[in-house]
Symmetry: C2
Subunit: 227 residues, 2 copies
């Protein structure tokens, strides 16, 4: 497992998401209130800082990479995204990037979610795996008690989900404003269509990540193109 | 004073500087040890976070801008630097940027000091003033007790200091690794040569900044081109 090169992406959770709801930054059109921009941005840096400190405390070598260093005017800058790879290759650093509010040249701001970043980095960098961790075990076929985890989802060339139809209800996640499971599914589909398998697993069970890396049976959902 | 548009630049102080000495990142050639890169970077984000929180506590609207969002491969990106201005014009946000260790495309890293950033932003943005705050009152004509503060320094077209020869001794500031007063003078000279007056004042007396902005007598050093 040590030989894997990893890039970490995190979202806003109770930090950025909470404040962007409070300042109405997802339902209102641009421009966002500048106080909101200021506070959402700072809350994300604070969360990133906590993540980085956790990595340092495990003697890992994280390197925080703000999205403003590789997304300009809402467009990904390929050269700068590739820099993340040279960072891992040459220095055994672990780039840690995150969803954030990013500035554009017209003086406006735009919210770039961690899920969008997952898509953006995956399609440019073509990793072996793209793994989303959430607070649930994966994608379920029913929302209520009695729903079953869908271990595999096959995607056709057109991007349609072939096997089970997953059940998604974002109305139940009022604070997960940048998209919740639905957004994760949408971004995952785009990644899968690039030929990269996507896993959705429960982040509270980190051993499941190791199961994936070691090709063992795992609890979670794997999405890939139909064979 | 409220009408002034301000961009804040801070250095590493006892955060980044301390660690970059500890990891020998100023005396050794590249590549820096990755543990040092990781820790210096994180210490600067931590310091920036503290600065931002202080601004927020005064109900100002800071917006942290990491140098990696406008310096690529050690070259300033003019468009991205101009974004800092649209940020202040359109949103009354205060961009807050800082010296840091920045990554380059070959997987290497480079230390970009706050003083260099002052020069880089000043020459691209042509501000009305460029003000360096330090822990001393300004530039002195002698290092020891009995030295006098030099209120004005005239600079000739060739960049030579005309009036007094300032006394600079960086040997006394072992931790101020990215250059101390000498570096501040060097960067100031470059800024002055662009026609922008540079002030060096004591940051422990913030009222002196107001004196400058209000065109009053002030305690500090002003450097400008000879008239």
């Amino acid at each position: 497992v040590k030989d894997y090169k990893v890039i970490i992406v995190h979202g806003g959770g109770s930090f950025g998401h909470y404040w962007s709801v409070k300042y109405d930054m997802h339902t209102k059109p641009l421009p966002y209130p500048s106080e909101g921009v200021s506070i959402v941005h700072e809350s994300m840096i604070k969360l990133n800082h906590m993540v980085i400190e956790k990595f340092l405390s495990h003697e890992l070598k994280p390197f925080s990479v703000p999205p403003s260093s590789y997304v300009f005017n809402n467009l990904p800058c390929k050269d700068r995204i590739l820099d993340l790879v040279s960072m891992t290759r040459k220095n055994d650093l672990i780039p840690v990037t995150y969803g954030d509010v990013v500035h554009t040249s017209d003086g406006n701001f735009s919210i770039l979610s961690g899920d969008t970043i997952m898509n953006l980095l995956s399609t440019h960098l073509k990793p072996r795996y793209s793994i989303f961790t959430t607070g649930v075990d994966g994608i379920y076929d029913k929302l209520d008690n009695g729903g079953n985890l869908i271990p595999n989802i096959s995607v056709s060339g057109g991007g349609n989900v072939l096997s089970h139809q997953p059940a998604i209800d974002n109305e139940r996640m009022p604070f997960d404003v940048t998209g919740g499971m639905k957004r994760k599914m949408e971004e995952s589909l785009k990644i899968v269509k690039e030929g990269i398998p996507v896993y959705l697993v429960n982040g509270f069970h980190p051993e499941r990540l190791l199961d994936i890396l070691n090709n063992r049976d795992f609890v979670g959902t794997c999405m890939r193109m139909e064979q």
